[in-house]
């Protein structure tokens, strides 16, 4: 098939120079805040020392992926308002982060947890529940890594580069510096990526509306064109159906986002709970940019572009209105924007595999050095898997699976997030709830031809709801019923390694506990293996009682948050 995009040499040269630059950055990152990368804390969490600014760049680069930059405007281009849910979604996610993540950071820091599944293991003393959480994370992450390749593919094709080799080379380079530098590489590259994205979007939004006759004209042409699309789109969501879908997609996606391993890794690599809180207040800056990028979809409509697929809406917009060198710059921003999340995702997945499958099942009592080595190698395997996935299977599969990934990852909410506040749920109740949620969510999505919204008849009212939320309700219902039943029949609750104090930020306990923020001390503690998987199992019986605490203690532990 011949490409409708001619090869653009200038754009390609700019693109390659920038790509080479971040490759160097990726390898040099190993020297940054140098430490021996022979523990998973150092390789997989950057030594847990990232401050407010680095965390802002890292999480910004990590959450707002290249695929988002391609897919959100593509959806807005095709369907209009329905695609704009990405904005409310990425606004309301931060109050949730503010309330929940500092607590998770605190307990993970106290206990040396590297993954969410580590926390579940420590909290419930159940390797099976922990494995369920880890597998869900892996399953949700892999298609997401593959989709980042689609982002690179689109911009390469827009510059007239077809074929598999450029993609393979790009990912091979990425794999090499991730192996070498661990989380430090994407953290440093994220700074470059984010600055480039900011420049591109500021230029685009300052320049394009003027060229297209102003925002009034842009929205007018979208208002006129959208209803003629197939299926018809709309500029404003009217009707109960569209509005319920819009709100539930925003809420469900926001609840799911920070359960993703790559988001969790970004949070746990920060140096304090305070850094996490501050970031909840400053990360919305990226949401503003995402909203502007979404509007590029309307600008593509106003410019009367006819992209070969909606994914080319934004690339074609840049080709049409900007000189080649800026086009190359913008495309490099998107491609580098794919590398950061792909690196963090593969590291997060490697951490999960190493801690919760390798060290928990395959080679118990693995040393920190061995864990680090296993994580490095498994991060390579993840990337090879992602490349094969994209090269051998239709892209449609990756998109469907990524969509399912959102539904799946939300099913870990009871075991990870609710567990931060209460241990009321029984571990087997949580496990059964998770299983039911996974099946229900998958079936709902599959029967809707992998659309994320599911039609419901509620009290005679027809509404469409994000399938992930419906599956979560089923999950919670099963978990609650089984918790009551299992507790009544006295099935073992498992041992809780954590104590109430582990969840309280240091300032709150009146300085009784020394600040363990010294990096050296922290490393030593991680290396000494204070937390080992399987402890819960071996130590069962020692504290074989439910540990939700007295009702009074319970009250203290639960913040008065909504």
């Amino acid at each position: 098939m011949s490409t409708p995009h001619p090869t653009d040499a200038t754009a390609l040269i700019v693109f390659c120079v920038l790509f080479a630059f971040v490759t160097v950055v990726g390898f040099v990152a190993v020297r940054w805040r140098r430490a021996k990368l022979d523990s998973i804390d150092e390789w997989g969490l950057g030594g847990r020392r990232f401050g407010t600014v680095v965390t802002w760049f890292l999480l910004g680069g990590d959450l707002y992926t290249a695929y988002t930059f391609i897919a959100v405007p593509a959806l807005v281009f095709g369907a209009g308002a329905a695609g704009f849910f990405a904005l409310p979604y990425t606004i309301i996610v931060y109050p949730l982060v503010f309330m929940i993540m500092p607590r998770l950071w605190t307990v993970a820091h106290r206990r040396g947890y590297v993954t969410s599944a580590d926390f579940v293991q420590g909290r419930y003393g159940s390797r099976k529940l922990s494995l369920a959480v880890a597998l869900t994370g892996l399953l949700a992450t892999m298609p997401y890594i593959a989709l980042q390749l689609v982002g690179i593919q689109v911009v390469l094709a827009a510059m007239g580069v077809e074929g598999d080799w450029p993609l393979i080379i790009a990912f091979a380079i990425l794999a090499a510096y991730t192996y070498n530098s661990g989380l430090r590489a994407p953290a440093l590259i994220a700074v470059v990526k984010d600055v480039m994205i900011w420049i591109v979007i500021i230029v685009a939004v300052a320049y394009l509306p003027g060229k297209l006759g102003g925002f009034g004209a842009i929205f007018d042409s979208a208002r006129e064109a959208l209803p003629k699309h197939d299926p018809p789109g709309a500029l404003i969501p009217t009707g109960v159906d569209a509005q319920v879908a819009y709100a539930t997609l925003a809420l469900g996606s926001a609840m799911a986002l920070f359960l993703y391993p790559h988001a969790m890794t970004g949070v746990l690599s920060s140096q304090s709970a305070k850094v996490v809180r501050r970031n909840a207040a400053i990360l919305p800056a990226y949401s503003f940019v995402l909203g502007l990028i979404a509007l590029l979809g309307f600008m593509a409509i106003a410019a009367n572009l006819q992209p070969q697929t909606p994914n080319f809406a934004v690339p074609d917009l840049f080709i049409t209105f900007f000189p080649s060198w800026f086009e190359g710059f913008a495309f490099a921003a998107i491609a580098i924007g794919a590398l950061v999340p792909a690196a963090v995702m593969s590291i997060a997945a490697a951490n999960l595999f190493t801690r919760n499958i390798w060290s928990a099942y395959l080679h118990k009592d693995a040393s920190p050095a061995e864990e680090s080595q296993v994580a490095k190698i498994s991060s390579l395997v993840m990337k090879v898997g992602a490349v094969l996935f994209i090269l051998l299977l239709p892209t449609e599969y990756a998109i469907d699976l990524q969509l399912l990934g959102g539904v799946w990852i939300l099913q870990t909410l009871p075991a990870v997030v609710i567990a931060l506040y209460t241990r009321w749920f029984h571990r087997w109740g949580l496990f059964a709830g998770w299983a039911v949620g996974m099946v229900v969510g998958t079936v709902m999505a599959a029967t809707q031809d992998f659309k994320s919204i599911f039609p419901l008849e509620l009290f005679g009212l027809h509404v469409t709801v994000y399938a992930a939320l419906l599956a979560l309700i089923a999950n919670l219902a099963v978990a609650a019923v089984l918790t009551v039943a299992l507790r009544g029949s006295g099935v073992g609750e498992g041992r809780d390694d954590t104590v109430a104090d582990d969840y309280e930020e240091l300032e709150d306990v009146g300085g009784i506990k020394p600040l363990p923020a010294q990096p050296g001390e922290e490393r030593a503690r991680a290396a000494s293996g204070r937390f080992r998987l399987g402890d819960g199992e071996r130590g069962a019986g020692e504290r074989e009682t439910p540990v939700p605490g007295t009702p009074k203690e319970q009250q203290e532990r639960t913040p008065r948050a909504p």
Binding site: I218, F219, F288, R560
Partner: protein, 64 residues
Amino acid sequence: MRGERTRSRAWYWLLVLPFLGLLIPPLYAKENPELWGIPFFYWYQFVWVPLAAGVTFLVYRRTK
């Protein structure tokens, strides 16, 4: 100390505002009033970005 902390935690309730403002689309799924040619539906949600960040920052200041 207990009372102080309880009082400072009351600030968390402010974090409900972005949810109320954004999860009820009938509130803002309208064309008018427009701003610089942008329908209300779009600029209203953009306004919530600094608003939500401001609320979060305020709660951060008051609870730390």
